[in-house]
């Protein structure tokens, strides 16, 4: 899991979160001994049926984030390049593909999958990546195909995705030779929705001035809503985290010592430079209070009907932030700028993530036109440090903060 940046008063829940994630990975790594099956699933994939069927979900993307934070990305990515994969491909995919072969990384590789679940609502890269892994492990692959909603969620898309939910459950039942218990499924659906609502509430606490936590904390606390969505563990944890945030607000404890400027982050984190970026902004009394990335795990609550979870899940999983048109993404950014009262927008142009990064320049123009706030674009990669230039990024952050300071007076 990602390392935790320094802060004034530590968030106490961080230790519990680390313990929960350690327990989760230990259980997953001993799945074979406990006669449990493991499914690898994409970060935006429909995990709830897995939880309801007692299959352990594993997220190679979360593993990618751990590899990046542990600064092991360069080595693993280079190994994938030796295997013939271009250095221009997604660094999560490169690191994971190499890790499967060499059993490297911070936890010595992920537990072997019994099946693979690929939902392409985040990108086309996962389709290719999971094909590679399905060939390597020789296990069944289910592709949950969620057509992009450039302008609308059309009736044809709705019908196609809904049909695939039945196909997905049939696939799982066939692989594990056990039927889905629909009562259990309803229960997991309710927990998933509750977890998403709580996660949204956690993120909302940063609207307070000064903010009790930062986007860097959100990158860290995100892991549970991704990996343990649909479980009581996530629900209970986020309840405690909200309590702690509310207490911090009451006590006047802020994320950075002297918050003067509030920033919004776009795209995945730069996992191997979290601490550096956090202190860089903090030195300018700037707090990254929100981001477009962590809110993706609670952005489609409005489409979920808790009494018909499986039916409504089709729309919720299809209309996530990355699977909509760039103009709709810009609208969401503008909403966040208003809600969090943002002074500047920091965009990570991420070589590893084309659907997230292409269109950013148009979003930048729209944000400038509609709000007038300064926008900074940083060129980097989420896991592979070879395309990160510290001195260049530093200079640009300094210049960007100067403009914000002049503008705010």
């Amino acid at each position: 899991m990602p390392e935790k940046p320094n802060e004034t008063v530590k968030i106490k829940s961080a230790k519990k979160m680390r313990d929960l994630m350690t327990a989760y990975y230990l259980e997953a790594l001993s799945a074979g001994q406990n006669h449990k099956q493991v499914a690898w699933i994409t970060s935006g994939g429909p995990v709830e049926p897995l939880v309801a069927m007692d299959i352990i979900p594993i997220y190679p993307e979360n593993h990618g984030a751990m590899i990046g934070s542990a600064k092991m990305g360069e080595d693993l990515c280079a190994k994938a390049e030796d295997m013939g994969y271009s250095s221009d491909l997604c660094s999560y995919a490169r690191a994971d593909i190499a890790c499967s072969v060499v059993k490297g990384g911070p936890i010595g590789g992920l537990p072997r999958p019994d099946m693979l679940i690929c939902c392409n609502n985040i990108c086309g890269t996962v389709l290719k990546w999971y094909e590679v892994q399905a060939r390597f492990y020789n296990v069944p692959l289910f592709i949950f195909d969620t057509p992009i909603c450039h302008t609308a969620y059309s009736p044809e898309i709705a019908k196609y995705v809904r049909t695939q939910i039945d196909e997905y459950i049939l696939f799982l039942e066939t692989v594990i030779q056990r039927k889905l218990d629909h009562d259990r499924m309803n229960e997991v659906g309710k927990l998933s929705l509750e977890g998403q609502r709580l996660w949204q509430k956690v993120l909302n606490t940063t609207a307070h001035k000064p903010s009790p936590m930062s986007a860097f904390d959100a990158f860290f606390f995100l892991a549970l809503i991704v990996t343990l969505r649909g479980t009581r563990i996530a629900v209970d944890f986020y309840k405690e985290l909200i309590e702690e945030m509310e207490q911090r607000i009451r006590d006047g404890v802020s994320s950075i010592p002297n918050e003067k400027y509030r920033l919004l982050w776009d795209n995945l984190p730069v996992w191997y430079r979290l601490k550096w970026l956090s202190s860089k902004f903090s030195d300018h009394n700037a707090c990254l209070v929100a981001d477009t990335y962590t809110s993706a795990w609670c952005g489609t609550i409005k489409y979920i009907d808790e009494n018909h979870f499986l039916d409504s899940m089709a729309e919720a999983y299809t209309r996530i932030y990355l699977n909509i048109g760039v103009d709709q993404m810009a609208d969401e950014v503008l909403n966040m700028i208003r809600f969090y009262d943002i002074d500047g927008f920091v965009m990570h142009s991420n070589r590893s993530c084309k659907p997230y990064s292409f269109g950013q320049m148009d979003i930048m123009r729209i944000v400038r036109e509609k709000t007038g706030i300064p926008v900074l674009m940083i060129e980097a990669d989420m896991t592979d440090p070879r395309s990160f230039s510290e001195s260049q990024v530093e200079t640009r952050i300094d210049a960007f903060m100067e403009i914000i300071k002049q503008r705010r007076g």
């Binding site: 295997m83 013939g84 994969y85 271009s86 221009d88 491909l89 997604c90 995919a93 392409n120 990108c123 086309g124 890269t125 389709l127 290719k128 990546w129 094909e131 590679v132 399905a134 060939r135 692959l141 592709i143 195909d145 057509p147 992009i148 450039h150 302008t151 059309s154 044809e156 898309i157 019908k159 196609y160 049909t163 695939q164 196909e167 048109g325 760039v326 103009d327 142009s349 070589r351 084309k354 659907p355 990064s357 292409f358 269109g359 950013q360 320049m361 148009d362 123009r365 060129e379």
Partner: protein, 370 residues
Amino acid sequence: MKDIEFFHDAVRHIPETASQIKKQGRKIMGYLCSYAPEELIHAAGFHPMRLFSSKSDIILAENHLQSYCCSLVRGILEDSLNGRLDFLDGAVFPHTCDSMQRLSDIWRMNNRYAFFADVVLPAKLNTESSGIYMTDVLTRFKKDLEAAIGKDIPDTEVKASISLFNQIRKNLSALYDLNSRHPGIISGRDLYALVKGSMIMDRKEASDRLANIVSHLNKISPPVKPGKRLILSGSVCDTPDIFDAIETAGGVLVGDDLCTGQRWFEGPVMEDTPPLSAMAQRYRDRVTCPAKHSGLTTRAENLVSQVKKNQADGVVFLMLKFCDPHTFDYPYLKEHLDGAGIKSMAFEMDDQQQSLAQFSTRIETFIHMI
């Protein structure tokens, strides 16, 4: 031969070709991918024209797409923003890769032409529900076109277009077959001008001229052209000098796995079934683009069988830099070729590639080796 020259002219001077078509009162609909439902565009009375980059310097597109976006996508956006595609009345974006997906958004938001449509095809092609969805998407696209022209497109028109496009496919297949049996009967440069021209020119004219060319080539006595028999694999190959370089190095092309080649034209649309489901079926049956899924090893099996069928000596992978789907597939395709004892080489290039000196050296070495 005059007919072949005609194709060269059409692709060399695309704005002039477009203006000739517009003079006949036809509106021009651009598209960027081999999955574009050209038959429907044609049946609606539009002229379907595949867009290629003019390979000009990237200036305006720099404000929309970062440098790690592929040269084809950036190049076509540059042409559009620069006004070089002002002959277009609209454009159609079938869903394929992440870069095309975002190009569609940027194109729509820039709003330069009267008509715009996304054709959000499925990413997987090998399930029953994706087949139904494919037909539903084509039905939706037909309605979009009907809304644009203000009238229904009768099935008879769609069938007539399908029949015309099938003629083009049949003739291009015949040319490839002929060239595989008698390599050198047509040069690579000529052959690819015919393919590209067939995506650009008036289709009736293309079809008639292709038929003439096939019948002409069938009559001449084939040259004896020894050379290493090669298959080209990749996405778009819009660099005719590549074909010259291969031939100069002692190679002959006997087939390809390109979306500006056989992937685009192989296999007819069935004419005895309802037209939209027949078109959907062809997209599911044809050799796939790696942005689509039709099985875990389907592409490798196709490539190996294509090599065997054409008795090829090797495969040349041409990869556009930053093309994720193709670069992801390369290691496994190579592994399958190695397993079948088939030699291959890979070359990464830009659509705006300035110099082919490096390619020439590589291909010469490769040809000596096989």
